[in-house]
């Protein structure tokens, strides 16, 4: 449970578990009867999630330990599959393929040779987009938190990029970055945006930042609005400069909301698929892990399953690091309705 030893519980008046003295027999009985009702209400959802998430994940792990059916390059005969042990994982991580001469590094250009480059691309895109979105989103949130005429119009406008389907966003920016497109016309450049690595990645990053910064800004704005005005007024009276007020008050108080926003966005960016798949089809150094998995599905289920399991593990580890070491406690902030400390 998430009971926090805080002297100032805003909802302490009801006394449901506000302190140890309440944890008596009555509390226990209440928990027991409510527990049964809660189980009845929650179990259906858990079963559904079990079917749509847990079962496929377990299935993927089982599949990943099987050989893909196909021609054995060493003997040239058809192999039906069978138990493969960790072969599929080794295939991806060491980029080793079956060749007529036995195990060797996968030839360049095959999917098997792309695991580490895809991982690198995924992390590069994630770090750059999330960093840009955090900084720009913070700035947008600060502007939106001020009182001025037209503020609600602004808040509505930032929802527009968020609401547009990513597939449409991808096509829109693909058009903007076309060779004869508006981006080249506007900046008097003649760049083949999707034709080489740096421009292609930049185009994807810009499209992603455009699409998701509003979401980030709204999450940070929600955090900003939790800070009482009096704190700022008191700091002003004490003579704190605008910069001091930002670093000493805004940043520390908005940090929990900010960390959760960054966590959400990071995990979302790590599974990025739509934008690169549509804008560049993974060409020119834009193959992310998700794209690699999808490309593999039609070649061999089982090694695709191994790769998707690896992807899942990578994302899981990143989430763990965030929650454990960077203090992004999404569950806590979800359980704790009043985030104001």
């Amino acid at each position: 449970m998430s009971m926090q030893a805080e002297p100032l519980t805003r909802r302490g008046k009801k006394g449901t578990g506000a302190g140890p003295e309440n944890k008596e027999v009555g509390q226990d009985r209440k928990q027991k009867t409510q527990g049964r009702a809660a189980a009845l209400l929650i179990i259906p959802s858990m079963i559904v999630l079990g079917i749509v998430i847990v079962y496929p994940v377990v299935d993927a792990i089982v599949m990943s330990l099987q050989k893909d059916a196909g021609l054995d390059p060493a003997t040239g005969s058809f192999v039906a599959g069978g138990f493969a042990g960790l072969y599929n994982y080794i295939h991806w991580i060491l980029q080793q393929c079956n060749t007529p001469g036995g195990q060797a590094s996968c030839p360049a250009g095959t999917l098997g040779s792309q695991f580490w480059s895809a991982t690198g691309t995924t992390f590069l895109l994630t770090v750059i987009t999330v960093a840009l979105e955090t900084v720009i989103g913070f700035w947008m949130a600060i502007i939106m938190s001020r009182t001025f005429r037209g503020r609600s119009a602004l808040r509505a406008a930032v929802l527009v990029p968020w609401a547009i389907p990513t597939a449409v966003t991808a096509k829109l920016w693909f058009f903007i970055f076309a060779f004869d497109g508006i981006a080249n016309t506007l900046f008097h450049t003649s760049i083949l945006w999707t034709g080489s690595e740096v421009p292609a990645r930049s185009a994807i990053i810009i499209a992603d930042v455009w699409k998701t910064t509003p979401f980030m800004a709204l999450l940070i704005l929600a955090g900003l609005q939790m800070i009482p005005d009096q704190v700022y007024e008191a700091a002003k009276v004490d003579g704190a400069t605008a910069w001091q007020r930002f670093t000493q008050i805004t940043l520390p108080l908005v940090k929990p909301a900010l960390m959760v926003a960054i966590l959400f966005r990071t995990l979302d960016a790590l599974r990025m698929y739509d934008l690169p798949a549509i804008m560049t089809a993974g060409a020119n150094g834009t193959t992310t892990l998700s794209i690699l998995v999808v490309n593999q599905i039609r070649i061999g289920f089982n090694s695709a399953a191994a790769l998707s399991t690896i992807t899942f593990l990578i994302i899981f580890i990143v989430a763990f690091i965030f929650v454990r070491f960077l203090g992004a406690n999404a569950v806590e902030s979800a359980t704790n309705s009043g985030k104001v400390k």
């Binding site: 994940v57 990029p161 449409v168």
Partner: protein
Amino acid sequence: MSVSTLDPRAAKAVARRRERWASSRTYISAAIILIWCLLPFYWMIVTAFRDVGYTFDPTPWFTHVTWDNFTTVFSESLGNHFARNLLNSLIVASATTAVALLFGVFAAYALARLEFRFKFLVLGFVLGASMFPGVAIVTPLFQLFTNIGWFGTYQALIIPNISFVLPLTVYTLTSFFREMPWELEEAARIDGCTQGEAFRKVIMPLAAPAVFTTAILAFIGAWNEFLIASQLSSEATKTVTVAIAYFAGSQPHQEPYTAVMAAGTVVTIPLVILVLVFQRKIVAGLTAGAVK
């Protein structure tokens, strides 16, 4: 600060000037944000209404206006079935939303209202599930659906969509429910209602806006889904996002930009209207739990 050393009138003038400067800076920043967010969207609409021959015309306002692109979008002569794709998206997104709400409302009520063990664990699981990478379930489901003959059916799209829409629903609703005036429920029970009656007569009307907002978020999430639909749909069940991504033009190696922008406009305008009308609610839903 040196305010106290100045005479009060001068100090007031300085403060007023500073305030005016600050407010004009706010307006400039707001204008930049507005332009950045809306300009690409505006460009899509301008292009959607532009004659194909002027696809790359950089004129920033509506010129060579035509409905032709919309006719192209809905014409079947090039092998596109856009009306069908729209219907498919509507079916998949509505069904996903309905199922997610049906299960999510009860789970969220329990998470927000009842005391029980493992609550933290359940919430953690729900949150973890909402951040789950779609590719991790696409591979096994691709094989499973192929084996049982579900490939290219509606359920083959709805079931994986539930994997991310249901957690989102539970999470958002839980935050909403926690902010509701539950004292009213207690009052109703004191007046003689059972817990079920109190829920139906007092809480349901109060919860309706929260459920409605969550439904919008769930619907938008399912409507915008691309990865699962691109892998598990057939020609007959293809959704609009997939259709737009692989829209066929008249020339094999020429992207039909204006038609694609028209298709994008058709798909986006209803969402944008929805978002503008329910702006306040949607912002509350997106950031649920953080805003009081």
